[in-house]
């Protein structure tokens, strides 16, 4: 039983991983295209970069789940590994590699119910500012029926509407690199821990920055907020912060590297001549939609009407050689992948997507992102069938669906092909008529799937039996072996070679 659920988990995670990488690639491509296009106009080059990926890894407390009655519910792309460490995918933010400061918003929410006391930690934000860094998050109590929703064994993808009552993703549009400005909006953020995130201690690989096991000091606010989870004098565990920032400096350093959460009607089918290396030559401009999406780390508490039935069957046979992918794997989204939500992965609010349906125009999206020598063509024609925005209210409960638990960790996730229905979802509150789809071709009605996984509090070795501490086969093997030796000896002795002459017989 364990193995099957493991397998299911693994496959789900792999799917999520794929999608997230795909999303990352596309977001990166889109962001680069836009940024590149803008960069040609804007003169001064700010050093602030948009955060395109990464994750926040945190176990919260050392023995979280040591008790028997702990129930953990994940949503919005948050994950939990075997050791019980939570992992929130990056949803957006800004980082300045020069100064080592920034604000990174992570998506997803985690509900831990322990002895009937529950805490929801959602959409954590890390304000990186040297020794004054902080980890904040929306902390609340689970909704009225915390366990009701997806509680038992509901692994896999159950998209129950309203399953997680409390997920109010921050609309934290504060991509502002100014440290401390993070608690601008959305639900109030609780300062969970003080961190010391110094630039010098970072592990920098290309555009991926990682701080491993940053000690977290509890604050008064967190002591109060997490009182239900932490026992007496139980300390917070160290935090691992990973982020991947954009290659190009974001425009409008201070205010706008992340545009507002409302999707802007952005370049529909018109191929935007972007000068960025990534999409050069790719007619799929579309990208404009994505970066904006990146900003709103999460959608919106209400299950937003997600225009699902936009069966975009894009048919665009043009390859876009993307130079940005460091690894030369092509990114192709095929099948029912809701790949259109490239933004979704990096930034949960894939607000760009649903908007697609608004335009009944068949936009030709070019979906092939090729890296290196590989060229992959994906023929895609986007035929939007539902002209009305917000046609079908897709039951997206966790608005911040972004599944990007980027398995790559810190590396910028360029390549991969995703052919799976993405769990990413996205409710964009306002459908914007941004036409042409994202650089990916998402044919098929995109589904809004929220992943709820309820895991046992702690992975145990063996629940139903005591550990196997001996090998049952030793004695039988020994017996058989000895028996064979004896039998062989006897047989040899009995059939030993002697000299017989025929006359003797």
């Amino acid at each position: 039983m364990r193995s099957t659920s493991n397998g299911r988990m693994r496959s789900a995670r792999r799917r999520v991983g794929w999608l997230s990488t795909l999303g990352l690639v596309q977001l990166l491509a889109g962001g680069l295209a836009t940024v590149g296009a803008m960069a040609t106009v804007s003169a001064p080059a700010p050093t602030v970069r948009e955060v395109t990926g990464g994750s926040l890894t945190w176990a919260v407390a050392e023995r979280l789940g040591a008790g028997d009655h702990v129930e953990v519910t994940l949503s919005g792309g948050a994950e939990r590994d075997r050791e019980g460490v939570f992992r929130f995918p990056a949803a957006g933010g800004a980082y300045d590699p020069e100064t080592g400061t920034g604000t990174v918003t992570y998506g997803g929410s985690v509900t831990v119910v322990r002895d009937h006391k529950g805490v929801v930690i959602a959409n954590p934000v890390v304000v990186i500012d040297g020794a004054d860094s902080t980890l904040r998050a929306e902390v609340g109590t689970p909704g009225p029926t915390p366990t009701a929703a997806p509680a038992p064994t509901g692994a896999g993808e159950t998209p129950p509407a309203g399953a997680v009552p409390m997920v109010t993703p921050t609309e934290n549009a504060s991509g502002v690199p100014v440290p401390g400005a993070s608690d601008a909006d959305g639900k109030p953020l609780t300062e969970l821990a003080r961190l010391s995130v110094v630039k010098d201690t970072a592990d920098v690989r290309g555009q991926a920055v990682t701080w491993t096991a940053v000690p977290a000091t509890a604050t008064e606010a967190s002591a109060g907020a997490l009182a239900g989870l932490l026992g007496d004098d139980e300390a917070l565990t160290p935090v691992t912060i990973a982020l991947t920032y954009d290659q190009e400096p974001a425009l409008g350093a201070g205010e706008g590297l992340l545009t507002s959460g409302s999707p802007t009607p952005s370049g529909s089918s018109t191929p935007s001549p972007s000068s960025s290396p990534c999409t050069s030559g790719s007619p799929s401009a579309s990208v404009g939609a994505t970066p904006s999406a990146g900003s709103s780390p999460s959608a919106d508490p209400t299950p937003s009407p997600c225009v699902s039935p936009s069966s975009t069957v894009s048919h665009s046979p043009s390859p876009s050689p993307s130079a940005t992918c460091p690894t030369s794997a092509p990114t192709t989204s095929a099948g029912p992948s809701a790949s259109a939500s490239p933004s979704a992965s990096a930034s949960p609010s894939a607000s760009a997507d649903p908007s697609v349906s608004a335009t009944p125009s068949s936009s030709q999206a070019l979906s092939a992102v090729t890296g290196g020598a590989n060229v992959v063509l994906v023929h895609a024609r986007t035929m939007t069938e539902s002209p009305s925005p917000s046609a079908s209210p897709s039951a997206s409960t966790s608005p911040s669906a972004s599944p990007s638990p980027s398995p790559l960790g810190t590396t910028s996730g360029c390549p991969t092909t995703s052919s799976s229905p993405s769990p990413s979802a996205s409710g964009s509150p306002s459908p914007s008529p941004s036409g042409s789809s994202s650089p990916s071709s998402s044919p098929t009605p995109r589904k809004t799937v929220t992943q709820h996984t309820t895991l046992p509090a702690v992975n145990t070795g063996d629940d139903d039996t005591l550990a196997k501490t001996g090998d049952g086969y030793v004695i039988p093997l020994m017996t058989l072996g000895i028996g064979l030796i004896a039998g062989g000896g006897i047989t040899l002795r009995a059939s030993r070679r002697t000299v017989y002459l025929r006359d003797d017989l």
Binding site: E62, R63, L466, L477, S495, R497
Partner: protein, 231 residues
């Protein structure tokens, strides 16, 4: 023709001398095969016990250093497969680094801590499983009531005394419940439970040793007196 006959005579005699019933030839072959197979099986069985024991021993050497390092670095929570504590049994003259987790891979490194159970010193039940092989819990059955088991963590020493020994079937997981033997009941005592296979070389039973915390001592106050003379 004569030529042939001359040739034939000696060779015929030889075959006459060598002649034996075919069943004998088959029997000889069979006997050798059986001997070989038997030897292979016995050697494998020996490896399964002693080779494993030897490997655990070398793993333990590595783990001991790792444990000291991680304690020095004040690493956080235990990670599966990593050492989380050390237990000493002075009566057996043994000590082990206990890894977190009881999967087969974990137990290949030494005794393993059942992940869901308590930590040393806590109210509850610290359950530790170990192979019944010479380098691990081979003669745990020699422990009697009152014998000392000391758990060592980063911060302290926890002295347990054996209170009970039982033989159970593998499915009787209540022995590692927070309140041993009474699953579902809230624990009131700090217990430590060792489980291993029984009888030796077999695994259809489990030997369980329960011990109860009698006192604890901070690391700063040095080794507990119970460990005097213990390596």
């Amino acid at each position: 023709m004569t030529h042939l006959v001359e040739w034939d005579a000696p060779s015929r005699r030889r075959t006459e001398e060598d002649w034996e019933p075919p069943s004998r030839r088959v029997g000889r072959m069979l006997g050798e095969l059986m001997l070989t197979a038997g030897l292979v099986l016995v050697l494998f069985a020996a490896y399964a016990t002693y080779g494993k024991a030897w490997r655990i021993e070398s793993e333990q050497n590595a783990l001991a250093g790792e444990l000291d390092r991680s304690w020095a670095a004040s690493a956080g929570r235990p990670v599966e497969g990593q050492p989380m504590a050390r237990i000493h049994i002075p009566k057996l003259g043994r000590q082990w680094a206990v890894v977190e987790g009881v999967s087969q891979a974990d137990l290949r490194k030494g005794p393993g801590h059942y992940p869901r159970t308590a930590q040393p010193g806590q109210i509850g039940n610290v359950a530790i499983a170990g192979h019944r092989i010479s380098s691990v819990f081979w003669d745990v059955d020699r422990l009697d009531r009152g014998d000392v088991i000391v758990a060592e963590t980063r911060t302290g020493w926890f002295v347990y005394r054996v209170v009970r020994q039982r033989l159970v079937l593998p499915r009787q997981v209540e022995v590692i419940a927070p309140s041993p033997g009474r699953p579902g009941e809230a624990p009131r005592k700090a217990m430590l439970t060792l489980t291993t296979c029984n009888p030796k070389f077999q695994n259809w039973q489990r030997l369980v040793v329960h011990a109860e915390l009698v006192r604890e001592q901070a690391k700063s106050r040095g080794r507990p007196a119970e460990l005097k003379g213990h390596p």
